[in-house]
Symmetry: C2
Amino acid sequence: MVARPDRKPDVFGAISHPSRRRMLDLLAGADHSVNAMAGHFKMSRPAVSQHLRVLLDAGLVTEQRHGRERRYHFVPKRLGPVRDWISQYERFWDDRLSRLQMLLSKRNKG
Amino acid sequence: MVARPDRKPDVFGAISHPSRRRMLDLLAGADHSVNAMAGHFKMSRPAVSQHLRVLLDAGLVTEQRHGRERRYHFVPKRLGPVRDWISQYERFWDDRLSRLQMLLSKRNKG
DNA sequence: AATATACGTAAGGGAATGCTTACGCGTCAA
DNA sequence: TTGACGCGTAAGCATTCCCTTACGTATATT
């Protein structure tokens, strides 16, 4: 028996929805409970919960129980695949400076 | 009457599908006709055509007629929103070098 | 002119997405 | 214990996505 066979680590899919990107933006500033997060959106609280689930499945956030709250925490490292994919095109934007950027990126990794 | 009222410039949505990201990767190397592109995928030619349409609507590619062919051409600049959004998190990966990267990014734009 | 090629698009269907309301369960408060 | 709170999940529904096959159109070939 596997822990969670139905989890989808699709980071690109997870960030494809504007609301989920905004949630990550908010979480980048501070951890949020579901209710705190829902305060920033017009959709229902369960809808927010479902979006957070997508982010959780993608590994972009973690959850931590605090009493009856669940605080969601941003995991920026999981954006790595997006960064890697996009940085492959740096040379297209500016050949003059982008090589330095790419060098920095490489050193950033190693 | 508007030219194309139903076009969706949703770049994040456009790159959310693995096949479309691979198409951009291929187009980054060289322009491709639809048939040339379809040669790299298992799906039908119309399916490829439809994916290219999504990329076209997002502005990520342009098409150029050459006889009965249509050559698709990569427009890297349109990845800007993705790059901008992701680069906002650079500081999370490495505070030491990322500030320089962000500086370079700013100068890259202006 | 007749045929082949390259491609877009319509039509259809199965699956996924994104929302809602209803409900159940654990936790804090009185 | 009783009730309010915070939250996840089930169920239902409309919409979108992604693929297929069938067909139409413009261009090239013979």
